[in-house]
């Protein structure tokens, strides 16, 4: 029995929404960051599912790029987080509140 | 030559920017030289001008070819007097500003930039260019009021700026409506007049008309868009007031005659009665409010609202008669009067603001009408010139204002008889207002507070005497000026079918 395309899409949409919710609700910068990673992986799942359905290589190719870029983002993001942690001993976004409009 | 007249002041201004600010005599010399050169050239152009020769001294060049924008200049009987007037008033204002001490360099630069903008508006025949020049006048005036103005300068400056900006952006939209409906798309004002691109599209024509109306009416200013004017005038430095009343207001009426009337005659004819009623309200309201003023500068400012009402009455009458052959003569007469009034008001009100300035800036430092009294005996020269200017302003026969108002009333009586009758009664209020003012300041018991007041010095005489002489000359012998105007207005009326 093969899993239909719709199931993959539904799962990835669910993951994406979970990730979005995480970004909007959680206050710890690391958790927010992980939620974003979850969103990116939801995207990857969509790509792969479509690539399988359409038999088009571009989808899988896209996943490689997304993975690489996500890795780069991790590097930059963690560097910024570490810089903040060094000076304030916290990564809670609510404590990072000097700039208010 | 036209370009030279327009840009000489700007060149002077740029030279001033690169001159040391400590050398004040040189700065003033450059400013005076530039505006004098511009004025002399404009006189020279007048001498070469052929009456009835349509647009002359045309200059046409590509500016932004890819957008169809040209550098297109020219003068006719409508713009020529206004250009000369602008050059003259600017020259006199620069001369008058001799005693500005605060930030002289920047002041002179802004002033000359302003002059270039004003001259450009009257000479531009490409809509894009027209708009650019129109807007160029805004920023210098904003700073002139905002930096060198009176106590409430910031408020007055921004109010002036925002009012006018709203208007000019409405104009920009109207210009674009014209542009997109012309085939092929063009900004050329002469072509647009010829093509009448909106003749068959009444809705768009109405929109364009009201777009232009908003812009011009705010500039004129017509009632009820006049509220920026008293503020701006009261706060502006004297020379700024002179230019504001003498020239900037004319840009509005000039727009009506140059743009609204020939390009959108149908729409203007439909709405002319409404415009005429607003003009009438301006006349009556201006005169009545002016009577109630104790501040001399405010008084002159409101009298401007009143006088510009006369101009607009003339223009609206002509618009209402557009295309009706049997009323062509009346229309031309009303227009002649309106244009003549533009020049007359420029000369007279320019003089009046200088007169107020002479008293306020360097002598009494107050403008309260009631605080003076009996100055007539002490300051004979000052009193004489003030009397001439005020009497000219109220329309005494033999002086410039009378000629203008006479033509306006004669012309518009044939078209809007009832409105004209009411408007004529406005003259009575105007007369009452000025006579009462003269009485309060120059007659009556002398107020000892002003015992040490000197009469006008040479520089002030140089600024004021020419204007007074002009009022008398054109009051007694208006023929040369009228001929120039009449030729253009007759063509205009004939063209509007």
């Amino acid at each position: 029995m093969s899993v239909p395309l719709e199931a993959y899409l539904a799962l990835s949409a669910l993951l994406f929404v979970l990730g979005t919710t995480g970004v909007l609700v959680r206050r710890n910068a690391l958790v927010v960051f992980m939620s974003i990673e979850l969103m990116l992986n939801a995207v990857n799942l969509t790509f792969v599912a479509f690539a399988r359905q359409r038999l088009a290589i571009e989808g899988q190719l896209a996943v490689f790029f997304v993975v690489v870029v996500a890795a780069v983002e991790v590097v930059v993001g963690l560097a910024i987080l570490i810089a903040i942690f060094r000076t304030r001993d916290t990564v809670d976004i609510d404590d990072v509140d000097l700039l208010r409009g | 030559m036209l370009s030279l007249i327009i840009f000489l002041p700007l060149v002077g201004g740029i030279i001033i920017l690169f001159t040391s600010k400590t050398n004040e005599t040189l700065l003033k010399g450059i400013a005076l030289g530039a505006s004098l050169a511009s004025f002399v050239l404009s006189l020279f152009m007048t001498a070469l001008f052929k009456i009835g020769g349509g647009f002359q001294f045309l200059e046409l060049g590509n500016w932004i070819p890819s957008l169809g924008i040209h550098y297109h200049l020219g003068v006719d009987g409508l713009s020529l007097p206004l250009i000369v007037l602008t050059a003259l008033l600017s020259l006199l204002s620069v001369a008058y500003s001799w005693r500005i001490e605060l930030r002289l360099k920047e002041y002179l630069f802004l002033f000359l930039l302003l002059e270039t903008g004003m001259l450009g508006v009257f000479a531009a025949l490409d809509f894009f260019l027209f708009y650019i020049f129109w807007e160029i006048t805004l920023v210098p005036m904003y700073f002139l009021i905002g930096i060198w103005g009176g106590p409430r300068k910031e408020y007055a400056a921004i109010k002036f700026f925002l009012y006018t900006l709203v208007g000019s952006l409405a104009m920009l939209l109207a210009i674009l409506v014209m542009y997109f409906n012309a085939q092929p798309h063009t900004f050329n004002m002469l072509t647009l007049i010829e093509q009448q691109p909106l003749a068959a599209k009444p809705v768009l024509a109405a929109l364009a008309f009201w777009g232009f109306f908003l812009s011009f009416a705010i500039k004129v200013p017509m009632w009820p868009f006049h509220t920026w004017l008293p503020d701006a005038h009261v706060e502006a430095p004297t020379a700024g007031s002179v230019i504001l009343a003498g020239v900037l207001l004319k840009m509005g009426t000039y727009g009506f005659v140059r743009v609204s009337l020939p390009m959108l005659p149908e729409a203007f004819r439909i709405y002319a009665p409404a415009v005429a009623v607003l003009a009438l309200l301006g006349i009556v309201y201006g005169a009545l409010v002016a009577m109630a003023q104790t501040d001399l500068k405010k008084l002159v400012a409101y009298s401007s609202v009143n006088h510009m009402g006369y101009v607009m009455l003339g223009v609206a009458s002509a618009a209402a008669a557009a295309g009706i052959p049997e009323k062509a003569v009346a229309a031309a007469t009303a227009l002649n009067g309106a244009v003549f009034e533009m020049v007359a008001h420029g000369v007279i009100t320019g003089a009046l603001f200088l007169i107020v300035g002479v008293l306020y800036d360097f002598r009494a430092h107050t403008r309260g009408v009631d605080e003076f009294g009996g100055l007539g005996a002490r300051l004979p020269m000052y009193t004489g010139i003030t009397m001439v200017a005020m009497l000219a302003s109220l329309g005494l026969p033999g002086l410039m204002g009378f000629v203008a108002e006479f033509f306006i009333f004669v012309g518009s009586f044939g078209i809007f008889p009832y409105l004209t009758v009411v408007a004529v009664t406005g003259v009575i209020f105007t007369a009452a207002m000025f006579l009462w003012t003269i009485q309060r300041i120059f007659l009556g018991p002398f107020n000892e507070r002003w015992a040490g007041l000197p009469d006008m010095d040479t520089r002030e005489k140089i600024s004021l005497v020419p204007l007074a002489v002009l009022m008398v000359i054109f009051g007694l012998y208006p023929r040369p000026l009228l001929d120039v105007i009449n030729a253009a207005m007759t063509t205009l009326v004939a063209m509007v079918r």
Partner: protein, 477 residues
């Protein structure tokens, strides 16, 4: 299957930028502390070389790399703008980074890499390429925002920018994934083909893609990060990101909406028109209340994003040319305004309050005059670049029948005149603060002079530049 042809000659401008970035970074490591200023020369020479190669590159549409990349007139114009932006931004930074001890090879390298990202976005003809360009643009900007490592405000700006940027990227990618699912390809051509009979999934993908781009361009309702980030980041970094992010994002808007989806103008222009109207209103109204010049310019950049968007809404070739022209004008006037602020300091700190500008014009008339010029231009008054840019986009939008958008644009321009003129007015009145000093230098002066010249020339003699950007439109016909 034959491997796709690789024609590196097309990539010369991008390669020069990359090489410069690498060279500057390495040189930064080896130069002794006292000679770090030589990096500026190196970066400037490399950028100018890239600019030269871009301008001399052909404008005939040349696809390459299996249809991922295209070099055409749009590529050329946007790349030139991006390079100009990075050049001016380097000059602006010169004395500031020296003063604050931030000068390092990475600083200039990051700027150059961000420019490279914008250049790639302009040259993309495939969504994956667009994504890579976008990230190449964004990631260096996150770092630049946080570049003052020990400054709490800069850290915070970097974190916010990073988290929200990555959040936006996720939407953008999900949009690409759905579009891929709907069309079976990531190329723009496939988009154009499927746009005629759009499936629900296609529409959803496009909407998500738009959200992602809206995040990057700071368009309402995805603008809220911009004021905080702009305020916290080091001044020259703020200046640069406010320009380069716009250049890249609008290049993408043009590529996706005007080039790929041109046939379906009506479908999405309503959505874009609504966004544009909202952006103009929110940006301009919010700017009224600002007291910090960085926040003011942040909201002003939001407002300008709305104005630029009107050109995209038009969806016509002349709209695309107008957007290109606007980006160029925006580069000059925004960087110019930042240059003026950079030439001042308050007790060694950034003089970033509007009140700090009080009376400064009388102590430095040229500075005051320049600021007045930039403010007049940002407000869109003639005879400056800002006016012509607005005139151009509004004309294009009006021609496309977008009357409501244009009227909103015109009305909000009046609002903007109020707050821009207030800045200029502040410089010309009152007593200057004692603790505000000047921090000029030849680099920032060079940037200021170039920007002023650009604003004036684009405003008064724009003929050549307009025919340059018009190639963008002509290429689309």
């Amino acid at each position: 299957m034959t491997p796709p042809a690789v024609d590196l000659r097309l990539l010369v401008p991008e390669l020069v930028v990359t090489a410069t970035a690498v060279a500057v970074m390495l040189a930064g490591l080896f130069l002794p502390a006292g000679r770090q200023h030589l990096l500026r020369w190196l970066a400037a020479v490399g950028t100018l070389a890239a600019l030269g190669t871009t301008l001399t590159a052909g404008a005939d549409p040349t696809p390459a790399f299996a249809g991922m990349y295209v070099r055409d007139a749009l590529t050329r114009v946007i790349q030139a703008t991006a390079l100009l932006a990075v050049l001016l931004a380097q000059w602006l930074s010169g004395e500031y980074v020296e003063r604050t001890g931030l000068e390092a090879g990475e600083y200039y390298a990051l700027m150059l890499v961000a420019a490279l990202g914008a250049m790639l976005m302009a040259a993309s003809s495939d969504l994956i390429m667009l994504f890579l360009g976008l990230e190449t643009l964004s990631i260096p900007l996150y770092v630049l925002a946080a570049f003052a490592r020990t400054d709490l405000r800069s850290q915070e700006a970097g974190l916010k920018y990073f988290l929200l940027g990555a959040f936006g990227t996720a939407f953008f990618l999900y949009g690409i994934a759905l579009l891929f699912g709907a069309t079976g390809s990531t190329g723009y051509r496939a988009l154009a083909e499927h746009a005629r009979t759009p499936a629900v999934i296609f529409q959803a993908g496009l909407a998500l893609l738009t959200i992602g781009l809206a995040f990057k361009a700071a368009v309402v309702p995805f603008h809220f990060w911009a004021p905080d980030v702009y305020e916290g980041a080091p001044l020259p970094a703020t200046a640069y990101m406010s320009v380069i992010a716009k250049v890249g994002a609008f290049a993408a808007f043009l590529r996706v909406y005007v080039v790929a989806l041109a046939a379906q103008a009506g479908e999405w222009s309503t959505l874009l028109a609504a966004i544009s109207v909202l952006t103009m209103i929110v940006g301009n109204v919010a700017a009224l209340r600002q007291t910090s010049i960085k926040r003011l310019l942040a909201y002003s950049s939001i407002a300008h994003a709305g104005f630029i968007l009107t050109g995209v809404v038009a969806g016509t070739p002349s709209g695309a040319s107008a957007v290109a022209f606007y980006l160029l004008a925006y580069t000059f006037m925004t960087l110019g305004a930042f240059a003026v602020v950079l030439m001042l300091h308050r007790r060694g700190e950034e003089a970033d309050q509007i009140a700090d500008l009080t009376g400064v014009a009388w102590r430095a008339p040229a500075l005051g005059g320049a600021m007045a010029l930039f403010m007049v231009s940002l407000a869109g008054l003639p005879p400056t670049a800002g006016f012509l840019a607005k005139f151009y986009v509004f004309t294009a939008a009006l021609d496309a029948g977008q009357i409501g958008v244009v009227v909103t644009g015109v009305l909000t321009s009046v609002v903007s005149a109020y707050y821009y003129l207030r800045v200029a007015y502040t410089m010309f009145t009152g007593q200057p603060h004692e603790d505000v000093g000047f921090a000029g230098g030849r680099w920032v002066t060079a940037a200021l002079v170039t920007a002023s010249a650009g604003v004036v020339v684009l405003g008064i003699f724009p003929g050549r530049v307009i025919s340059f950007v018009q190639q963008v439109g002509q290429a689309m016909r």
